[in-house]
């Protein structure tokens, strides 16, 4: 378990400030944030490499601030591996291992047998990352800290390695904290997502919650939400309107039906009334359904528009629809774009449910 409470650390002119989060025992935490936000410094502070300047840090219930790095039972994997260049692959993996069987196991699981006697300076970037992961695991840590550990692996190897790390994490009951820039990876691996910016935690919680319910428009945009609209919200009087497209149980206390106006768009949603006069509506592109004719569905928000841009990204596509009130971006499969005959200038409809709109 990793518990940070108001944790601070200083590294040159950079500061971690008031960092508070919890990764429960046996859970997998992911740290996301823009470059220079302090992600690596956070891992180094948890590992004890960068001394904490304030706050509390508990690792498996122990006060970690009183422990030197070697007593924390933390495995640390840097993005660039930092394999010891004067040692072979085998010597690197076995460096901190007390049990030779653990070395053999990680060598087998990460398919490193053929590299065992190689000089580490001759390895590729991806191979170095694998050896670094194996080295950290061979010492049988109770906490695993990973700084973009799969970034140099080719897609196939990345998938296999990710799966293996997750499997070992479960089998060995490790607590993990991984820095990643890859939101898919964050969603796939993480039980807890921690969003860091300028040395502070902006939001933390289950990845689903952080991605779907960003705490600010900045977070929404950082997390890749395409439709972040500034506007004003008005609480509607009916507390449980007939157009609500969620089970009544989800209509929690304090939530209201809300009419949100942004430019010429009027959007209906359900949630807590925003505090300020100006608020933001966030709609992820994958929540927006595009059709050539109005859809007969329960979705409350329906807009007619003209396709302004179709961007094909491999198997997926981003379609920008110019409605009378402003643009809306939808995510579709490339096949759907083809089947619907979507192209620039074509008339189409965008539909999304009230529950797909998040106000912040």
């Amino acid at each position: 378990m990793i518990v940070a409470r108001d944790l601070g650390a200083r590294l040159g002119s950079f500061q971690l400030q008031g960092v508070t989060f919890k990764v429960p025992s046996g859970s997998y935490g992911v740290v996301i944030g823009p470059a220079g936000s302090g992600k690596t410094t956070l891992l180094e502070t948890v590992a004890g490499i960068v001394p904490a300047s304030g706050g509390a840090l508990q690792l498996d219930g122990r006060d970690a601030r009183a422990l030197p790095p070697e007593a924390r039972r933390v495995g640390l994997v840097y993005q660039h591996g930092y394999l010891f260049p004067h040692l072979s692959v085998q010597e690197n993996v076995a460096y901190g291992a007390a049990d030779p069987a653990a070395v053999d196991e990680v060598v087998r699981r990460f398919e490193l047998a053929a590299l065992r006697h190689r000089d580490v300076v001759s390895l590729s970037g991806g191979e170095r990352q694998l050896v670094a992961i194996a080295r950290a695991l061979a010492m049988r840590p109770s906490i695993l800290l990973l700084d973009e550990p799969f970034s140099a692996l080719d897609p196939g190897r990345r998938m296999r390695t990710r799966r293996e790390v997750r499997a070992i994490h479960r089998e060995w009951k490790l607590t993990a904290l991984q820095v990643t820039h890859d939101f898919t990876e964050a969603g796939l691996l993480g039980d807890v997502a921690i969003l860091l910016d300028k040395g502070r935690v902006l939001q933390s919680g289950p990845p689903e919650e952080v991605f779907r319910r960003p705490a600010s428009p900045y977070i929404a945009e950082f997390l890749g939400a395409e439709n972040v609209l500034a506007g004003t919200a008005r609480v509607l009087e009916d507390l449980a309107p007939d157009w609500i497209d969620a089970p009544p149980s989800e209509f929690r206390d304090g939530h209201h039906a809300i009419e949100f106006t942004s430019g010429g768009l009027t959007i209906y949603t359900v949630g807590l009334p925003p505090a300020g006069a100006t608020s933001y509506a966030v709609i992820r592109a994958e929540e927006v359904v595009v059709s050539r004719t109005p859809q007969a569905s329960s979705a409350r928000n329906l807009f007619r528009g003209t396709v302004r841009e179709v961007a094909i990204l491999g198997a997926y596509a981003r379609v920008t629809l110019e409605t009378g009130g402003g643009p809306l971006v939808a995510a579709l499969t490339a096949r759907s774009v083809h089947e619907l005959g979507l192209a620039e200038g074509v008339e189409a409809y965008a539909t999304f449910k009230a529950m797909a709109v998040h106000l912040c």
Partner: protein
């Protein structure tokens, strides 16, 4: 038209200036080796004083280097890795022996280690006489050459990325074990090169040694002695031997650098 462009005047002037400097540096040494090395090497068989000066120089320079390495490594590591008040002052102090004239260094050492000083008297009581003994030679060599080692070793430590050490700490090593298992081997080549430079500098020292210990003579003092007593003809073979000795560490350094260049690019 169509021919190669002539080099610019500035290039010609620069090449000429560089050639003149090179000639100025190499010609005297070349002349000395050309005229004296065969005779110098031949005299090693017959000239007992030269043989003994050579042995004394090698031994004292090696002792000074060992002392410099043993005491300089912690200092160099401290300067490379820790930020503390007075670090800049300490660095400047370490450069001082490099910038003062070496006879002045000898005089300063004489003040501190001579029989009229408290330290000198204390050492005499302990049975250690510095002035006029090989100990004085070692002290003079250490004084003028140790700063070179510390400076080189500091750079060698600074080049070792602290993240190697960080990883080793998380893998269970305490600070000392990290130093022994990671830092020292990774800085090893730089440390060795610095030690070679220190040794070479110690071998070639004259100014400070001649103040502290004229006798027994090192090769540098012997060459001066032969020059003042017998003239240039007798000094040349001894001086040539000194040049040949100085070439050994130069060759060693070249070999070390060559190896490092071979490994460059493979290091993370």
């Amino acid at each position: 038209m169509g021919g190669r462009r002539l080099p610019a005047i500035s290039t010609i002037v620069a090449a000429l200036a560089a050639s003149l400097l090179l000639l100025f540096l190499v010609a005297p040494i070349g002349e000395l080796v050309w005229r004296g090395s065969a005779d110098g090497v031949a005299r090693l068989g017959s000239d007992a004083e030269l043989r003994s000066a050579l042995a004394l120089t090698g031994l004292t320079a090696t002792l000074a280097t060992l002392l410099g390495v043993a005491t300089g490594i912690p200092l160099a590591y401290l300067l490379a890795r820790r930020r503390f008040r007075g670090r800049a002052v300490l660095s400047a102090l370490l450069d001082l022996p490099l910038v003062i004239p070496h006879p002045v260094a000898g005089i300063a050492l004489l003040l501190v280690l001579g029989r009229d000083s408290a330290v000198g008297r204390g050492l005499l009581v302990a049975g250690l006489r510095v002035v006029g003994t090989p100990i004085g030679i070692v002290c003079a060599m250490l004084f003028v050459s140790a700063p070179l080692f510390v400076s080189g070793a500091r750079e060698a430590f600074a080049r070792v990325d602290v993240r190697y050490e960080a990883v080793a700490r998380t893998l269970g090593d305490n600070g000392w074990r990290v130093f022994r298992r990671i830092t020292l081997p990774l800085a090893g080549r730089g440390l060795l090169a610095s030690a070679v430079i220190m040794w070479a500098r110690a071998v070639s020292e004259f100014g400070a040694i001649v103040i502290l210990t004229y006798n027994p003579k090192t090769v540098s003092v012997l060459s001066y002695d032969r020059f003042t007593t017998y003239g240039l003809g007798e000094a040349i073979p001894v001086a040539a031997v000194l040049v040949l000795i100085a070439m050994v560490p130069l060759a060693l350094l070249r070999a070390l650098r060559g190896e490092r260049e071979m490994h460059a690019g493979g290091m993370e």
